[in-house]
Symmetry: C2
Subunit: 178 residues, 2 copies
């Protein structure tokens, strides 16, 4: 619970809008690749769906995901139950550095999709912060069953976040056309 407190729950959290929540992550610094290691960023989270989809495309490009039609991405965001974006703020400039979304029946189940953190911002606990924020939001909506499909290389990451693979032998399955 200490984590929540320090990241999101502090009374002096300065939110720039009702949909933005954030706090400075004390140990956050730019990756060496950015050439600006001294400049600590302020990390904000938002559930607002009104952001530039080209910025999201850029983020997905940065992690090597295949491009998807903008029209379908827009629709998926519209019909997702929860959309979480993570931003680095410097002065008046915000940069999209992370994203996650979830589908849901608004009652029992939610499934998290498209979790991404910009490579320059990986290895700093920000993926963990993004997931904690996402889980917190889903739990606050009384969703009891939070699920996801994890690629092999991130199974351990999600394990650390409290996710269990194949609990009681339940198998995640994907349909493939004949």
């Amino acid at each position: 619970m200490g984590f929540w407190k320090s990241f999101f729950g502090s009374a002096d959290t300065a939110s720039t809008s009702t949909k933005f929540e954030g706090d400075t992550i004390s140990n956050f610094s730019e990756s060496p690749a950015s050439g600006d290691r001294a400049d600590n960023g302020r990390i904000l989270f938002s559930t607002d769906r009104e952001f530039d989809l080209y910025e999201l495309e850029e983020l997905c490009d940065a992690v090597g995901w295949s491009r998807r039609p903008m029209r379908k991405v827009r629709k998926a965001i519209q019909y997702s139950f929860l959309v979480v974006s993570m931003w680095q703020q410097r002065g008046n400039t915000r940069r999209l550095i992370g994203f996650a979304r979830a589908t849901s029946d608004h009652a029992f189940n939610a499934t998290i999709w498209d979790v991404v953190v910009h490579p320059q911002f990986q290895g700093k606990g920000l993926g963990k912060a993004l997931m904690k924020y996402t889980i917190k939001k889903l739990r606050s909506e009384d969703i009891s069953n939070i699920t996801l499909f994890a690629d092999p290389q991130v199974v351990n990451f999600y394990r650390q976040m409290g996710f269990m693979a194949d609990p009681e032998g339940i198998k995640g399955m994907f349909w493939y056309p004949d």
Copy 2:
């Protein structure tokens, strides 16, 4: 494709409403338990959400599922992307004998939940018919990624339906609170 044709695609399918689709399943007969083995039923499928939730509760009771609050079940049905019910019709009477629903982002992913066939109607290919109908509906909405979480005893059933467990090492994961 022959399956589709005989079950759902025949030109002479008599639908009782635009949302009902069905055809007599030639090899369908009541289970011995019903004491009425001679009376072949007519099986109908519907995507209509307006049905008696107490009938659904009865169906779920019959397979031993834990009761869930009606209010939440109603909400889950309302916010599911697709709701499929399977009915046995005899004269003017319809009986709910199967159910499935799916959450979705309306663009890329759908996840199927709550697949149930009444025990008296199991072992007759109706679970398969219910799933084929559900997959057909999702595919017709241009959903490319159809997923589900299968209990161990039904993994093989879903395999036969074209689902693959853990493709490329992708693991289905469930979140559990600390």
